[in-house]
Symmetry: D2
Subunit: 128 residues, 4 copies
């Protein structure tokens, strides 16, 4: 890993290391959602799609671990026609945990559907 | 598989079965490209991303088989900084074969970078 | 327009001109869906998003005209919280017509939610 | 705007308001990149695509202003064939400023290609 490039990158930031850690977590959750929502999802590809999302986000800067579960929330059971063997990945089907570490500061972010908000919320579960 | 739903769907089409087969092939290649281009890609996730693209497109209507190879085309070797351990999937890195069958008509489509065009071309390799 | 490049491209195809026209239509509808599904949509950006989808797909090879209407289908009216001022573009909100012409063959494709299938169907409305 | 829903959302966060502000900025830049990279871009749609990205991200929670410039960086001038009238939006073509405000804390984030890193960097230009 090229420490010089990392130091150059740092100079662009006008915030604390903790704030940058939070920012990096936000980037990863925003990326995860907007890259994969819309993907066709079926019983046949659910596992491999979960692993691909995990490995894809794990390959980004500072990420140490990603865990993804897809819950099709009834969309795949409603019918057995050719049109309903698969559905489209939506934000409320995703439960994702992203862990990263920047300059020794560990943080965990989460994307999951929150019942009381009826909304797929991205939030910080722990920082530092 | 619900044959009735399929028959209802058919009634919307104003074309021959062979033309619909070509159309379905186009949908799948357009979907593959625009769903996954932009995804972070690294040596660590290349394999799992290839499998995920395959299984994702295989889960769509009428598809029988998909084969995907990602060639990062030098982008991952140019540096070893934190910023260059991964890159972004672009169309010219993808070689994808999609096979499908509609009403007994088999077809194979391809997306691959064509040197003489300097362009990732989507085309029909065989039909019927 | 470089006719030579177009002729080179043609040589890769193993199908009739009508079948290629159908294939190109499929590519555009697959692209439209998978590029834009997942985008945040609100009352404030609906118009500009429709125009952007139109101009984006119109800029692709052989396309002559695109018309897009987004119908948020109740998602934006259900609440007035910060979480419900916008929603995520899904396939069943889109009504898109794509017209293209390849070698004098005119074709029109459509993506729209079909009530009786409970599904956003892509189909060929006219060809040749 | 439903203050109650916002308060419920807040309870999920384990961080300071400034850190959440940084996190929200990261989400928006990650979303912008991964939603729109891969979109077809040509001289004909560049303006409308810039406006659509701006309005789309502006419609997200807490965002006050977005400014986007697309620089095709030579890709559109290299040829005049049908295959080169448009190209695919990549991260290094985008210069985006995102301003948001959370609980009175103003912040500005940026995505732009940084020459010395040869990389499209997302960073915080100001916070608080």
């Amino acid at each position: 890993m090229d420490k010089k490039a990392e130091r150059i990158g740092e100079e662009y930031f006008r915030c604390s290391d903790r704030e940058r850690t939070a920012f990096e977590l936000g980037i990863k959750l925003g990326a995860l959602f907007h890259q994969f929502v819309g993907a066709p999802v079926s019983k046949r590809n659910m596992d491999v799609l979960e692993r691909a999302i995990e490995k894809t986000i794990e390959s980004q800067a500072f990420v140490t671990r990603v865990e993804v579960h897809i819950d099709p929330r009834g969309y795949l059971e409603s019918s057995d026609s050719v049109f309903h063997e698969y559905t489209t990945l939506s934000g409320d089907m995703i439960d994702a945990k992203v862990e990263l570490e920047y300059k020794g500061i560990k943080a965990q972010g989460r994307l999951r559907y929150v019942e009381e908000l009826d909304y797929p919320l991205m939030y910080i579960e722990s920082l530092g």
